[in-house]
């Protein structure tokens, strides 16, 4: 299901996030981060930007930076399921362990 864009997210911000995703899909990680950073300047409280940056950092093997991004995501949105899953995986918590 496609997420609805909330009213408090500006068009510029959405465009920048889309550009970031586009670069990420094409394996251009530095460019993707640059777009997400621009979007953050417009709205530093958008948890999805931090999450996307976390994904890019993790894909690029920068685990420390990825972790920080997922933690910021969870501060802004404690129920962010994907951020939690990625964070668990990064630290070494495996599903199903008793």
């Amino acid at each position: 299901m496609k997420k609805e864009v909330s009213d408090n997210v500006s068009k510029d911000e959405v465009d920048l996030i889309e550009m970031g995703k586009f670069y990420f899909l094409n394996g251009k990680y530095e460019e993707a981060i640059s777009e997400f950073e621009k979007a953050l300047k417009i709205n530093p409280k958008n948890e999805d930007i931090y999450f996307n940056m976390g994904i890019v950092k993790e894909a690029n093997n920068d685990r420390g930076a990825a972790r920080k991004m997922y933690e910021k995501t969870l501060i802004l949105q404690p129920d962010h399921k994907s951020a939690k899953e990625h964070l668990d995986k990064l630290v070494g918590i495996r599903k199903g362990r008793k």
């Binding site: 093997n61 994907s82 630290v91 362990r97």
Partner: protein, 228 residues
């Protein structure tokens, strides 16, 4: 010279301290038990009888000067959590903690442990190897001399093919696989990636940013690769 501190000398802590010392790492070990400390004192750089849950003691030992600290304390979860918290507050950059169970691991994660290991679960994985360098993701001992390791692709390898890099001749290593991230967009619009394994990559395979190489070789040769 890499410096690592190991707190707690149970079976796991002892094995970690010995392995690190054998690799030429300067190791400080801390345990409350004097007998255990005596056992390791001959092969580690410094062995101290101390209570790691005492902040003042840890501060005096200069624990924050160690880039990596391994909390290998055994069954006492309170001590392990408190020690981790103290290390975090004293500014230790990379804290690895032996996890006891899922709840313990989640608490450790919340208070800032950078990596949680389950030695009994990760059996066969030579975890100490991976503590020395964050570039080695996992290593499995094949023989006392040879290991199979996952190594983050060195930056100088990116955008080059395996043939041109001549890894086998130049670095005495065999690349047996590449773990590659494939970015995609999920149905809800979030970005994510899946990891695909390229087994027995062809010499023409071009290495990419974000790749993890699965290599077989001697420990020293893998060390050379990770230092590139």
């Amino acid at each position: 010279m890499k410096q690592i501190a190991v707190i707690g000398l149970g079976t796991f802590g002892m094995a970690v301290a010995k392995t690190l010392a054998e690799k030429g790492v300067q190791v400080l070990v801390i345990d409350k038990n004097e007998q255990r400390i005596q056992e390791v004192s001959s092969f580690v750089t410094q062995a101290v009888v101390a209570d790691a849950t005492d902040e003042q003691t840890m501060r005096k030992l200069g624990i924050s000067d160690f880039g990596t600290v391994v909390v290998a304390s055994g069954g006492n979860r309170e001590a392990s959590i408190l020690t981790t918290l103290i290390l975090k507050e004293l500014g230790v950059k990379y804290i690895i903690v032996k996890g006891l169970d899922d709840i313990h691991a989640r608490v450790l994660q919340k208070i800032g442990a950078d990596r949680i290991v389950f030695p009994e679960f990760d059996m066969g994985i030579k975890v100490a190897e991976t503590f020395v360098s964050p570039n080695i993701v996992e290593a499995i001992e094949l023989s006392p001399e040879y290991t199979m390791a996952e190594v983050i692709v060195p930056k100088v390898f990116i955008d080059q093919n395996i043939r041109d890099l001549n890894v086998r001749e130049r670095y005495k290593l065999q690349i047996i696989g590449i773990k590659r991230k494939e970015p995609y967009i999920k149905e809800d619009g979030d970005t994510d990636f899946k990891e695909v394994l390229v087994i027995a990559p062809s010499p023409n395979e071009i290495l990419q940013d974000g790749d993890t190489l699965v290599v077989i070789g001697k420990y020293n040769d893998i060390d050379n690769l990770k230092n590139l």
